[in-house]
Symmetry: C5
Subunit: 105 residues, 5 copies
Amino acid sequence: MVFSHLRIEVKPGKPHPYHSDNVQGKLCVTQATLGQGSTEERTVLQCSVGHKSPVYLCSLLPGKNECCSLNLEFKDDELVAFSVIGDRSVHLCGYFKSDEGDNLR
Amino acid sequence: MVFSHLRIEVKPGKPHPYHSDNVQGKLCVTQATLGQGSTEERTVLQCSVGHKSPVYLCSLLPGKNECCSLNLEFKDDELVAFSVIGDRSVHLCGYFKSDEGDNLR
Amino acid sequence: MVFSHLRIEVKPGKPHPYHSDNVQGKLCVTQATLGQGSTEERTVLQCSVGHKSPVYLCSLLPGKNECCSLNLEFKDDELVAFSVIGDRSVHLCGYFKSDEGDNLR
Amino acid sequence: MVFSHLRIEVKPGKPHPYHSDNVQGKLCVTQATLGQGSTEERTVLQCSVGHKSPVYLCSLLPGKNECCSLNLEFKDDELVAFSVIGDRSVHLCGYFKSDEGDNLR
Amino acid sequence: MVFSHLRIEVKPGKPHPYHSDNVQGKLCVTQATLGQGSTEERTVLQCSVGHKSPVYLCSLLPGKNECCSLNLEFKDDELVAFSVIGDRSVHLCGYFKSDEGDNLR
């Protein structure tokens, strides 16, 4: 198994695509944290898969709930794009587990 | 194993059924997030399985706790229906893992 | 493996026992949500196993934190009883995994 | 595998040691809930392993956040002691999984 | 498998590196709790891997949300450094699982 980290900052107005570069495996997103900024409004993280309409993944509230655990899995052959609704960025952590070299398991 | 995503928006007044289309496997729901709207009242997500009375899955509070992790599993042969109590929708994320092609595991 | 769902509402003043009916396996409780009611006081979910004194499992606060994830496991041969301290019920979700047909695993 | 439950109440001023009685295995602590009391100050749960200085495990806030999930693992050969900073007790849930009878796995 | 605990306090102004000392395996960080101090401002825990810019892992709010579960994994061959933004320390719990002696699994 080849393991690589996902650590990205999804910025307002800029959908953040994720590609697995034709490597077979699974993307797991495990943590979301609100980035810097002064607005007190909520920031919603959403993702779209392929051409489907986006679905909310979490809603972060400045000064109240600024981070949350996630348990999200995406397949390698999906075109995933993360984006935010609101004026602050969201930091995402996770990992990509590819199947390479995993035949004996 | 065949893996497919669950990403649905459960809207007020509209129970959202889930069918696995006779594919054997397991439905996992891992995340719930409050949808848009202006009411400040709580929105409760509930589900009913078969003909049993619905049970609450989570309670989301605008401006306080707008998302939560879930760890729910449903069998393929169950008729599951999600619904909300309240005026806002709830976005659900998860996946369906079917057993097809999994005989060698 | 035989898999069955746990979805119960633990009501005030009424300890809710759980029996596995002599089926070997494991009870997992994964989610607790506050039921309806108007009191603003906390509701504490507790459980007792056998004849031991009860231990708190979670504390739910109306309008602040009305649900929480749990990661609780109980053995089949234990007499488990859930009860609440407070005036509102608590909805529990989880599952029972029996070992039947699992000999080859 | 032999499975036994951990359900303890860690009281103020009284470190609560945990021994596995020379049984090989792993202690898992999965849930912490604030006990009764009237103080509105935070209660911090900490643990020390061997002779190392204690580390905070969680911080519970009366009327705001009175419980939390934990994902803690301890080895059988460690001398673990839980204690609280504050005036209220903390209820802990979890389990001990011993390796006995697990040779064939 | 060799299992060792991670229990560190990341102090303000002092990045805390983590080395696996050339032992192959995986570092898991499962819990973060706010340390002592009087500031009411948020404390953000971040980490940098190699020479990449740091990413936020969680944001802790005094008197509101002082701890959170994490599900973070790092490879042995990565140079990981934890640091805080803010005036209070953050206590981290987790473990390191090395692959030594794990050949038969």
